[in-house]
Amino acid sequence: MEDQRTHIISALVLHKPGVLQRIAGLFTRRGFNIDSITVGTSEHADIARITIIAKGDERVLEQITKQLNKLIDVIKVRDLDPESTVKRELCLIKVHAPSEQVRSEVVQYASIFRGRIIDVSPETLTIEITGASDKIDALIDMVRSFGIKEIARTGPTAISRGTKTI
C-alpha cells in the first residue's frame, strides 16, 4: 500500500448555486472519501474558497484534483503542502457544568488551549476554540469527563504561508 497521507486541497470556485452539489456529487460518484469540506467567500465576491481534507495515496489525490479541475465552475485546485500551509479549524463545545468546581476547571482548560467561553447558562458552558485539529481533539478529550452536550466543528480551512497564493 502506498502512503495514505492526509491532504489539504484548496480550490477556488465560482460562487453560484449548484457548485457544492457538483463537487459533492463528484466525490460520491468517484468513490473519494473526504474527512471534511469547508466553503466560504474568498477575496473576490464572486469566488468561493473550498478547503477539502482527504486521506489517500498519491494516485487517488491526483484523481481528486484532476476531476475537480474538470468541473467548469472550478477555477483553480491545489494540493497544499502541509509544511508550508497554515491550517485552522473552529470548534464550539457545549460542556455540562452545573457546579462551581466544574466551571472553574473548564475555564482553566479552555484558557490553557487559548479557547474562550462564549456562552454560559446555569447548566452549561460553551467554549470557542480555534486551531489545528489535533489541538481541538486534545481539548475535547480534556473536557469529555464533565459531559459534552454538543460539539460543532467547521472542519479545517487553510491558506499557504508567506506570499504564495493558489
Binding site: 449548484g18 452539489q21 457538483r22 456529487g25 484532476k66 468541473l71
Partner: protein
C-alpha cells in the same frame, strides 16, 4: 425580443440548422417561435431518439448536435441519450423545458430537477433564470460541448424565461474562468516520447475516439508509417486508421481481434492516443501490455493514470501533439530497426485472419457482416446497436475512414443504432447510412420508423434477427452453464410487417448471398428500408472473459487459413527474434 426568439437566434448564430425534438407544456413559447423559424425541426417519436439522433449527427459531422425535450418526463427520457454522449465524449446540446421560475422547487406538474439529474452525465449544465442570460448561456453551451474533450451540455429553460422580453446585444461575451482546455503538448514530454519510440523495437499504436474527435486521421497515419508501428483501435477508434492497411491490427479488447490482443501483449512500447483504457479495451489491467512502456496522449488530464499507469503522459490535442511528435522523431531518428517488426506483424496477421465465409442456413453472422462490407463503400456511414451485432461489426467489419463507424461504446446503450443512423443521415444526406441492429435493441426504438417515414430519411436498417438478447445469452452459454434466463425474445414481432405498418419498405433475408443484392437495392431506392436478417442464434464471438488478460480468449476463434497453426504460437516466435 422574447426569450424564445433569443434561443432560436442563438442557435442559428451557432450554425444550427436542424434540431431533433419533442414539444411539451413548458416548451410552448419556444415551439411557437420554431413555428415561424427557418430551423429544421424533426419530431421524433420518443425523446431518447432525439438525443441519440443529435449524437449520431454530431459523430457523423463533427458539429454539435441539438435535441429538445420538455420538462419532467421529457427530460428524463433524454437522460439515456445524454449519458451515452457523455461516455463517448460526443458534443450535443440538449435543451430541456422547465416549469416557470416561481414554481421551481414546488413539485409542480412535470417538474423534475433536470440540473441535479444531469450533473453526473454532462460536461456542464445551465439554468438561465432571466432571458437576458440566454445568449451567453447558449454560446457557452456550444463552446463547452464542442471544445476540449467534447461532451454533452444541458440548458434547462424555465417557461417564463422563454416568454419574457429581453434585449439581444450584438456583442455576446462568455465568461468561463474555470474552462481552459490544454491544446499544445508539453515539448519536453514530446521529446521523451520520441526518444522512447525511437529506442523501442516493437512499438504499437492504440488509437481511440480522440483521433476522430480531433480530426487527426492523417497525423496518426503519418506517425504509424514513420515509425512503422502497427495500429490497433478501441471500439470508438474504429475508422481512425484504415483497417485494410498492412499495419492495421483491427480492434483491441474483450471482443478484439486475436492479432491485436496478442501483439499488444507482446509490444515493448505502446503509444495510446485519445483513449481512456476502458476495462473492455484492456482486460485485466494488471496484465495489460506488461512488457511495454506506455505513452498516453489525451486532451483530458484526468484520463492520465486513471486506469493504467503510464510512463510518458502528454496532455493536449492529439492533432497538434502527433504532428510535433512526428517532427521530433524524424529529427532524432537513427537507422532502420523496425523492418523485422513489420515483417513479423504481417506474417502474424496472415495466420489469424478471421474466417468470414460460411454457407450455413440460418446465416452465420460473419457471413452477414462480410456481405454488408462487400456491398458498402468506404464512405458509407454504419451505426451499430449494442450487443453481439455491435461486436460482430466491430470485429469483422473493415472500417477505412473516420466518422463512418458510429457505435455506443462506454454506456453500451441498446436502441442507439437506429436513431443515431437517423441523425447521421440528416447530417450527411449525400452519404449512404446503414444501421446494424439486434432485434432486441431495435425494438426499444422501433416507433421512430414513423420519423424516418414522415421526414423521408432514407436509412437502411439491418436487423440481425436471432430472437435472443444475444450477448447476454452468449455470456449465459459461456459462464452460466447455458441457463438462458430471460434472454429469449419469442416469435413476435414480424419485423417486415412492423415496418410495413409504418409504410417503410422491408425485406427478409435468410440465405447466403441474398443480402448483397437486397442491401444494394435498398440503398439505391432512396427510401428508408428495413432488412430482417435471420441469423444463427448459437454462434458465439470469441471473447476475453471479464477480469482476464487479453491473451486469454475463450470460444473457438475461426480462422481463414486453418493449416497455419504453427505460426500462431506468437511468444515462441517473437522472443529473441524480433528487435533484439
Amino acid at each position: 425580443m422574447k426569450g424564445g426568439e433569443a434561443i432560436i437566434k442563438s442557435l442559428t448564430d451557432e450554425g444550427v440548422d436542424v434540431v431533433f425534438g419533442y414539444p411539451g407544456g413548458v416548451l410552448l413559447p419556444l415551439y411557437d417561435v420554431i413555428y415561424d423559424s427557418d430551423l429544421r425541426h424533426i419530431l421524433v417519436r420518443h425523446e431518447q431518439c432525439a438525443a441519440h439522433a443529435a449524437d449520431g449527427y454530431a459523430r457523423a459531422s463533427g458539429k454539435v448536435g441539438v435535441c429538445i425535450a420538455t420538462s419532467g418526463p421529457g427530460a428524463t427520457n433524454l437522460v439515456t441519450g445524454i449519458a451515452t454522449a457523455y461516455m463517448d465524449s460526443s458534443s450535443i446540446v440538449a435543451l430541456t423545458g422547465q416549469v416557470v421560475t416561481p414554481l421551481i422547487g414546488k413539485d409542480a406538474f412535470q417538474e423534475v430537477d433536470t440540473l441535479g439529474i444531469t450533473i453526473p452525465i454532462t460536461k456542464h449544465n445551465f439554468q438561465p433564470m432571466t432571458p437576458q442570460e440566454l445568449p451567453s448561456v447558449i454560446k457557452s453551451a456550444f463552446y463547452i460541448a464542442g471544445t476540449g474533450r467534447k461532451g454533452p451540455v444541458v440548458v434547462d429553460l424555465p417557461k417564463d424565461v422563454q416568454e419574457l422580453e429581453m434585449e439581444f446585444e450584438d456583442d455576446i461575451k462568455i465568461d468561463l474562468p474555470g474552462y481552459k482546455p490544454t491544446t499544445k503538448g508539453h515539448p519536453l514530454q514530446i521529446k521523451r516520447a520520441a526518444e522512447l519510440i525511437v529506442n523501442s523495437s516493437k512499438p504499437v499504436i492504440l488509437a481511440g475516439g480522440g483521433i476522430i474527435a480531433s480530426n487527426s486521421f492523417s497525423e496518426l497515419f503519418r506517425l504509424s508509417e514513420t515509425i512503422v508501428a502497427p495500429v490497433t483501435t478501441t471500439l470508438l477508434g474504429k475508422g481512425s486508421f484504415p483497417e485494410d492497411h498492412p499495419l492495421s491490427l483491427g480492434m483491441l479488447g474483450m471482443h478484439g481481434r486475436k492479432t491485436a490482443n496478442l501483439i499488444v501483449d507482446d509490444c515493448d512500447c505502446l503509444i495510446a492516443v485519445g483513449c481512456r483504457f476502458s476495462d473492455r479495451t484492456t482486460g485485466n489491467v494488471a496484465e495489460f501490455a506488461r512488457k511495454a512502456k506506455i505513452i498516453h496522449i489525451d486532451i483530458d488530464p484526468a484520463e492520465i493514470g486513471k486506469n493504467v499507469d503510464v510512463d510518458v503522459p502528454i496532455v493536449g490535442d492529439a492533432k497538434i501533439i502527433l504532428e510535433n511528435l512526428v517532427e521530433e522523431i524524424k529529427r532524432i531518428k537513427r537507422g532502420e530497426r523496425t523492418k523485422e517488426w513489420l515483417n513479423y506483424v504481417k506474417n502474424f496477421k496472415k495466420s489469424w485472419i478471421p474466417r468470414m465465409s460460411f454457407d450455413d442456413v440460418p446465416l452465420k453472422p460473419q457471413q452477414v457482416i462480410k456481405e454488408i462490407w462487400e456491398t458498402l463503400s468506404e464512405d458509407t456511414i454504419v451505426t451499430t446497436d449494442v450487443g453481439q451485432n455491435q461486436m460482430w461489426m466491430a470485429h469483422y467489419y473493415t472500417s477505412k475512414r473516420p466518422r463512418k463507424f458510429i457505435s455506443s461504446g462506454g454506456l453500451g446503450t441498446m436502441g442507439f443504432g437506429f436513431p443515431a443512423a437517423m441523425g447521421a443521415k440528416v447530417a450527411k444526406p449525400e452519404e449512404d447510412v446503414v444501421a446494424v441492429c439486434g432485434d432486441g435493441g431495435f425494438l426499444m426504438v422501433s416507433q421512430d420508423l414513423a420519423t424516418v417515414r414522415e421526414y423521408d430519411i432514407p436509412v437502411v436498417i439491418c436487423i440481425l434477427d436471432n430472437r435472443y438478447l444475444g450477448m447476454v445469452a452468449q455470456w449465459q452459454r459461456l459462464f452460466y452453464d447455458e441457463r438462458l434466463s430471460h434472454t429469449h425474445l419469442g416469435d413476435v414481432p414480424d419485423f417486415v410487417k412492423l415496418a410495413e405498418s409504418y409504410k417503410v419498405n422491408a425485406e427478409r433475408v435468410e440465405k447466403p448471398g441474398q443480402l448483397r443484392e437486397t442491401l444494394s437495392d435498398a440503398l439505391k431506392s432512396g427510401e428508408p428500408t428495413l432488412i430482417d436478417i435471420i441469423i444463427d442464434a448459437e454462434e458465439i464471438l470469441p471473447m476475453v472473459p471479464p477480469g482476464r488478460g487479453l491473451t486469454e480468449m475463450v470460444g473457438e476463434y475461426k480462422v481463414e487459413n486453418e493449416n497455419m497453426g504453427e505460426d500462431r504460437t506468437y511468444n515462441k516466435q517473437s522472443q529473441g527474434k524480433v528487435g533484439d
